[in-house]
Amino acid sequence: MKWDEFFVFTHDPMLFAAMISIVLGGLAIFVGLTYFKKWGYLWTEWLTTVDHKRIGVMYILVALVMLFRGGVDALLMRAQSAVPENGLLNAQHYNEIFTTHGLLMILFMAMPFIIGLMNVIIPLQIGARDVAFPRLNAVSFWLFAAGAALLNISFVIGGSPDAGWTAYFPLASLEYSPTVGNNYYSLALQISGIGTLMTGINFIVTILKMRAPGMTLMKMPMFTWSVLITNVIIVFAFPVLTVALALMMLDRQFGTQFFTMSNGGMDMLWANLFWVWAHPEVYIVILPAFGIYSEIISTFARKNLYGYKSMVVSMVAISLLSFLVWAHHFYTMGQGVMANSIFSIATMAIAVPTGVKMFNWLFTLHKGKITFTTPMLYSLAFIPIFTIGGVTGVMLGMASADYQYHNTMFLVAHFHYVLIPGTVFAVIAGFHYWYPKVFGYQLNERLGKLGFWLITISFNVAFMPLFILGLNGMTRRMYTYSEETGFGPLNMLSFVGALGLALGFIVLVYNIYWSARYSPRDTSGDPYDARSPEWSTHSPVPVYNFAIVPTINSLDAFWYAKKNKAPFFEGKYEPIHMPSNSGQPFLMGVAFCFWGFFMVFSWWIPAIISALGIFATMIYRTFERDHGYYISVEEIERTENALRGDKQ
């Protein structure tokens, strides 16, 4: 391999700028940590932590950075297509950007943001002191981080994947995509995917086995239910991705014939395997969002959730259907009328349980005492905007009609109308909603609402025109178009919307800064007079979560305890067993990152050495004897008194 194929950033001034900014950013962090003498703090408090709250915060932090990265990609794409015959990006760069935009936003922004919220909230919502396997949880995070790092360096070293986030064969084969870009694809996703699978197992066990006494399955908060179902989907969908990516790697780097056009391979096999994972993946990012909305709507409507049982049943139905609709992503790729009809019907069937949920939220709002806080505004905006996404989804789901819409901007508009009001609004709403639980103060409401209006309005300005462009015949993934097509003005409007969205996210980030400095501290632990158990403990949450594990007699038990002025926590303090921190997961992540990098370039000797590094961390783990530690009763008393503000 030649050096200029390796350091691809030397080709293009924009990539060079990206490289410089990465180096400067890294340098700034390095100097900052050294100057403020924070290396030890970083290591002992964060890099080695097994505390679910801190792991959750790290997930969300990485997700926000990836949101920035994916957002810059989006801005560049919209800028490129804002005017006809634009030369801002060349075709190759455009291909790389729409590919990484999709990958980053779905796998390294939406999923980790949701997994982050899951990590912070689930143990608190079920009255547990941590997840079932705290150490494995840290491994999950560091594998995810390793995958994210690998995908991000691809831009400047070796070249990014450029065959779309779906990476269809034969386009993604070595013959048609000769750069290492798609090697990054297979390895970065593989590493972070293993982490996600571990998360899935961890949370299923946590939710099934570690609930507070009395909390039966049908007394779990709705977010917990949604996360349980999501993790079941993860456990059965991610192995398919594991196989698909392994086969991709074998085809590209070891000359196998899985997806080739000759020698008995089958290119459509990739499309099927990919979507058997990727369609459930859509529900992995949307079901927890439904859970978040359920919590927020019920809290700020001051009513219990309408139709709790039907909510659960419809989520289970959605999770089953999610595995039966994958072929609707490629109706036009020649699978025959019968298959298309079956997948068409299954696809439209999903609208039924989703509709049930919609009506449940509306009935929860009905006659509620609604307070219009920032998270509530996002939840309220979600209902109509997501419905547009859902209705256009049914349009796309009809196989015969889909021949008109397939791979046009109409499709692009549709899935942004589902994913942004569905998942992105939900994670932002959840972020605002649970922020005081983690940091002990609320985000500023004025800035929050300003951000909400900017994001919601700009979102519609950015994506509504794409519906019309698609119906007018503009296909997706076109790096430019001629003036005669008449696509120019609507694309320009969409670019304006994209700028507005960027502004909205800047306000959001500024809000974090402003609130950290000026926001009043919340000492109650329950700033919204909310319903579920996470609000019963202090904010910020002590390391052991609950000094006494509560007994849950009903859904919304905390709410009823408050209304009836009954004590929620009964019993005496007892020593609490906690898991100890460890650097092993972090080192494992580092080893995986190096292994992935060397594998991308087929440098076998370094790859084998890194693989030995991975095994070394595993061997260390199996021979390690770590029984954790106990927090004494005196220490619990001291912490509790301090958090309550007692002066003793």
Binding site: A132, F133, L197, G200, I201, N202, I204, V205, L208, K209, M210, V235, F236, A237, F238, P239, V240, T242, V243, A244, A246, L247, L250, D251, F254, G255, T256, Q257, F258, T260, S262, N263, G264, G265, M266, L269, L273, V276, H577, F615, I619, T622, F623, R625, H627
Partner: protein
């Protein structure tokens, strides 16, 4: 750590029970993984291109030896766990060592089989059929290989520490893993080899 003495040692603590359930769910994910590999194999089994077809290369004798070795190892690890429940450290270790030796034997014959195929010009690069065959068998074989190292590490701990809630838990989980590999092999034997030879 509360130890419940009414349960076998590997189930005796809360942490142990969580680990066993977690491992069962992991095996669920493994079923999904192998199901996908089987599906890939069934899709590509007729994609022989210019290479040999299943009938041309499969040899029942080699496969029967492998099957015998692996099935016996599944039986001996069952005896090992039984001995563990009775608190017989030496018997347990003996059965585990037999299990691992049988596993190693299986692996030797599998590698032998691969070498034979390659000598006949049937490599992983030859056709869609052979790519999927080698990947399915190879994934199973890698699991067995990993199991050999894992089992050895557990044996070393049992030897040093005796039966504790941790070591028994690890041994028990390892036995679940080993039985699972056996089940996968039964499917490979039936639906890859026997069906291919029909």
């Amino acid at each position: 750590m509360k130890i419940d003495n009414s349960l076998p040692l590997e189930y005796s603590t809360e942490e142990n029970r969580l680990k066993i359930l977690g491992f069962w769910i992991f095996l669920g994910a493994e079923i999904a993984l192998f199901s996908t590999l089987f599906t890939v194999y069934f899709v590509l089994v007729n994609g022989v291109g210019n290479g040999p077809s299943p009938k041309d290369i499969y040899e029942l004798k080699m496969v029967l030896i492998q099957t015998f070795l692996l099935l016996t190892s599944s039986f001996t690890i069952g005896l090992g766990i039984h001995a563990m429940r009775l608190g017989l450290k030496k018997a347990m270790m003996t059965f585990f060592i037999i299990t691992l030796v049988l596993g190693l034997g299986f692996l030797v014959f599998e590698i032998e089989e691969f070498i034979t195929y390659v000598h006949e010009g049937a490599t992983i690069q030859t056709s869609g059929f052979l790519s999927s065959l080698f990947t399915l068998l190879g994934t199973h074989g890698l699991h067995v290989t990993f199991g050999l190292f894992w089992g050895t590490a557990i044996l070393m701990q049992v030897k040093k520490q005796g039966f504790t809630p941790e070591t028994t838990n690890k041994s028990f989980i390892f036995s679940l893993y080993w039985h699972f590999l056996d089940v996968v092999w039964i499917f490979i034997f039936s639906f890859v080899y026997l069906k291919g030879l029909m």
